[in-house]
Symmetry: C2
Subunit: 316 residues, 2 copies
């Protein structure tokens, strides 16, 4: 069976592994990214990782790389948060020249989308929206069975679809972006402000009065204990996400929406609330068959998904 | 040169013609739709029109049909406004069996999108968003050089993307849909309410005090005469449309956005205002190259576009 190298470049760690066609990791390794030391160091760390994965292997058919930032169709990285000097970096060419193997480079959320499509919750579907919900809101799309990349740069900046033309200012410069409502900071802020206004909540007990410690995880814990504020917050998040997703359903008629990232672990209250809003808001003919499900690939999803970039291509 | 039959099924008229590969109409005819008499009558009117176009022709390579309503990939119509008994109607099969020629059926806005892609403002581009702005707001998309149809039914219900999660109720059941802000009725309403509140405006002069007569066309006329209310209205419409389109630019990274329909004739003030909002709101890297232009095909766009459904297919 053929194998593929999958490399997940993160702000802190590089995770790299050798993956077989079934999406099973045969060996893996973790290295520090060392982004502050500049791109040469990062590239050399990546090279080390890839060499580890390739060592002693003969049947490797390519290298898949997931990276933060905006990537074009030639595998050039235009900008990447946490990697300040990554600008116009021809990542694909660099590693193709070095290892004489096909290399596919994609941004991290497109990579996860590909992974979920080839090995995860999206297996068997042709039109998929994948969002990752954490500090920010990232997104990727499979349209007609292919990762959709837009005309130039990786598209699917789902986090910056506005859900209110006059909403609060977002870091991107626009106002009312969905990320500005459902990013981890903003979810926590809803809880903090309600408690400061005197609202009683188990959230306060869990963080022992230290409101800075409030996080989506804490809100989920409070929800489990029957806290009404926590319930309201997940309903609100569902309303915001459901509004944005209803627009995407009306626009793209996807079969399945996959939600990953830390906040997706809120589980049932979040998914119920999203479902409810979609049923209320999207075209019934388009909404009735769409599934909203959690991402399926676990801890090593970054490596497996990066590998899927190569395996998925060869399956077309 | 090969020719194609293009048929544009409207609520009132059926327009049908014989079109050559270059998009030139060689002959055309207009018939009454007679929707109230039921589907048999409408089908028989369509048949008459197609027979007219086919008469004496030998080199006809197919029949393209643009119809209102939701259409699936097999050319089945699920529902169509103004054609009450058009439900589950296998339009493609009916005419394929009748004329023994390839038939492509698409909803009307997808049809126009195809026409603009093959013969109009979208020629040469691969990622196109097309909207038609009139009583309602319709949309179609070319993604990676193909008309995007979604997983089941023609997608791109762009008019029902929400731009405000708590906005006013739309006919579709959702709230805050873009159509609810920029449909002809709503644009006229802004003018009417301002004038009722005592705002002075040339709009009132043009309709000679009969506020029911206010239409987007009247507002454009007032704008030409330097009316400040008219200017504000187009700015507002641009803000709403710009908000929605910025989301689509961030999501899909299109190369060009084509705007057709009656309201697009407002011209410069509308397009300037949309441009301004897009520059303010969308990701600069994605916004800087996107063109926003008026549709190019004129009065016979329905016939030419329907023909493009066949010609575009054969060019793939």
């Amino acid at each position: 069976m053929k194998t593929v190298v999958g490399l997940d470049l993160g702000g802190t760690f590089i995770k790299v592994g050798l993956v077989n066609e079934k999406g099973k990791i045969l060996k893996k390794e973790q290295l520090l990214t060392l982004g502050k030391k500049g791109k040469r160091t990062v590239l050399s760390q990546m090279e080390k990782g890839i060499k580890f994965a390739l060592k002693g292997e003969k049947n490797v058919s390519g290298i898949g790389i997931g990276t933060p930032g905006l990537v074009d169709k030639n595998g050039k990285v235009f900008s990447a948060p946490n990697l300040p000097d990554w600008n116009n970096l021809p990542l694909k060419k660099i590693f193709q020249d070095k290892f004489h193997l096909p290399v596919v480079v994609e941004n991290d959320v497109n990579t996860i989308t590909s992974g979920e499509y080839v090995y995860g919750a999206g297996k068997g579907y042709k039109n998929i929206i994948c969002i990752t919900l954490g500090t920010g809101l990232g997104g990727g799309m499979i349209l007609n069975g292919k990762l959709f990349r837009g005309s130039k740069l990786s598209a699917a900046e789902i986090g910056h679809i506005p859900i209110c033309f006059g909403g609060p200012k977002c870091n991107c410069g626009n106002v009312g972006c969905i990320e500005r409502y459902v990013g981890a900071t903003y979810i926590s802020q809803i809880a903090r402000e309600s408690i400061k206004k005197g609202r009683k909540s188990k959230i306060k007990e869990i963080v022992k009065g230290d409101l800075k410690k409030i996080s989506p995880r804490v809100i989920s814990q409070a929800y489990q204990k029957g806290d009404s504020l926590a319930k309201e917050i997940w309903e609100k998040v569902g309303l915001y996400l459901g509004t944005m997703l209803s627009g995407l359903i009306n626009l793209l008629n996807p079969e399945i929406i996959i939600i990953g990232g830390g906040i997706a672990q809120a589980g049932k209250p979040l998914f119920d609330s999203i479902d409810k809003e979609i049923k209320k808001r999207a075209f019934p003919l388009l909404a009735k068959d769409v599934k909203v499900v959690p991402a399926k690939l676990g801890t090593d999803s970054g490596i497996i998904s990066a590998a899927s970039l190569i395996i998925g291509e060869s399956k077309k």
